[in-house]
């Protein structure tokens, strides 16, 4: 899993590549920890290169979403592969996280 974070004015762009699963979810959480400190900026996650997420990944996305909302920011995930979207759909997470 490769995480790239770029700050552009009021927006933070995050690029994800690879799988998020039990082997790297902890590292993934550490990688995005600076985003959870919260400066109220909006987070845009580009999932073009993300191939899979397990429940552990969902939990990290949920944590990030809660943290962003607590700081009055917004979070969107975009360019998600349909197989990854299916994970969000069948767990009901599409109702929680904005996927464009």
């Amino acid at each position: 899993m490769k995480v790239t974070i770029n700050k552009q004015n009021e927006k933070t762009l995050v690029t994800l590549e690879g799988r998020v699963d039990s082997t790297n979810a902890e590292q993934f959480q550490q990688d995005i920890a600076p985003l959870m400190e919260g400066d109220g900026s909006d987070i845009d996650i580009d999932c073009t290169g993300m191939t899979y997420t397990s429940s552990q990944g969902l939990r990290v996305f949920l944590l990030l979403q809660k943290s962003v909302m607590a700081h009055q920011g917004t979070m969107v995930m975009r360019n998600m592969d349909s197989r990854v979207k299916e994970v969000f759909d069948i767990t009901g997470f599409s109702n929680i996280i904005t996927i464009l």
Binding site: S55, K85, E86, I90, T91, N95, I96, L100
Partner: protein, 359 residues
């Protein structure tokens, strides 16, 4: 600006007492915030200030003769509570009376002093002290003797006061006669609006209480579906069992999320009463579970959102009622917005539904 000696002495006491005023203000602010919080009161604003030296100098220049000592000036430390509704001023004042010692001789209810043609400055002004039971510092005993002013007014009263002040008039200075009529019309309108807001809020609260008891009684067919009734219905946790059953597929954790977006969906699906929603729930619960089973079993996904139960009920209802792919696309558009993926979502679901004979 030249003050007389007496006023100069008062000003000097003011300067040396500033740390005490600051301490007093911080204590009063902290207790006010705590009290509002404890009583779940949401207010429009809590303002505070220590009178600036310039302002005190002006006051002394104009009416310094009135004050024997600085303790006769009761508004050096001042706070203002601005409420959303006019009837909340009485709720706040009752709490203030319990918290602080009130100097009743100098407190004024300007709401009762009004001329028939006045609206602005309808605040309630209390002159208070911090009782020793609330705070006492042996090194700063004067703090309990200093009086401060606490004003309470509604947002519309506050708006009026600010506009009036911004036009350069103070409460006790009359506006020119030629403008008085229009100001009076506006005053009447604002007072009426203040009353109406309070009345409407009371009526809505009563309505919500009635709805809650109606929903709790289980006479669902008598309860129209609207935002309030849907919320009351959800308090009964009608989808909890199904959610738990779905979570049981993978021994999953349940994340409680909001079902609010489904209110509009249910309306679009033709639900008119809570009874309609209840029938939908009963009729399609099994199908919703079967759908979850085919989707989740073997995936190892061990977290689900609580909304997955109602989500699946809606999907199954749409398919069973024959609305097919188009119906699902409309459902997803309502939930997630219009996008191309909704077609794929719908087609995938139809394939899954075929396997369990939902279509």
């Amino acid at each position: 600006m030249k003050l007389d000696l007496h006023s100069e002495m008062i000003l000097e006491v003011y300067r040396t007492s500033l740390p005490i005023y600051e301490k007093l203000l911080s204590i009063v602010l902290e207790r006010m915030r705590q009290c509002l919080n404890d009583n779940h009161l949401h207010i429009a604003g809590l303002e505070s200030r220590i009178k600036a030296e310039d302002s005190l100098t002006n006051k002394l220049e104009l009416k310094g003769y009135k004050y024997k000592t600085i303790s006769d000036i009761t508004d050096i430390v001042g706070l203002r509570v601005v409420t959303f509704f006019s009837d909340e001023v009485d709720v706040i004042s009752a709490l203030v009376e319990k918290m602080f010692e009130i100097d009743w001789d100098n407190s004024v209810d300007k709401r009762k002093m009004l001329e028939i043609d006045r609206f602005g400055y309808m605040s309630l002004h209390y002159i208070c002290r911090v009782p020793e039971t609330m705070y006492h510092d042996p090194d700063m005993p004067q703090l309990n003797q200093i009086r401060f002013e606490l004003q309470m007014r509604s947002m519309l009263q506050h708006m009026w006061a600010n506009m009036y002040h911004d036009m350069g008039y103070k409460s006790d200075v009359e506006i020119p006669k030629e403008y008085q009529r229009n100001m009076n019309r506006l005053a009447g309108m604002l007072e009426l609006a203040d009353e109406q807001f309070s009345r409407i809020r009371k009526e809505i609260n009563n309505y919500r209480r009635n709805v809650q008891s109606l929903v709790a009684s289980g006479d669902f067919d008598d309860v129209p579906l609207n935002g309030d009734t849907f919320r009351s219905y959800l308090e009964l946790q009608p989808f909890k069992r199904l959610t738990e059953k779905i979570a049981g597929i993978n021994q999953a954790e349940i994340y409680e999320d909001s079902l609010d977006p489904y209110y509009q969906v249910l309306l679009r699906m033709g639900m008119r009463t809570i009874g309609d929603v209840e029938r939908l729930r009963k009729k399609y619960t099994d199908g919703a579970y079967q759908l979850a089973l085919i989707q989740l079993a073997g995936t190892g996904l061990d977290i689900v959102a609580s909304s997955v139960a109602l989500q699946n009920i809606c999907i199954v209802a749409i398919l069973k009622q024959g609305f097919g792919e188009g119906g699902l696309i409309r459902l997803f558009a309502a939930l997630y917005g219009e996008n191309d993926y909704n077609i794929q979502r719908a087609q995938r679901l139809i394939e899954q539904a075929k396997k369990i004979n939902l279509v």
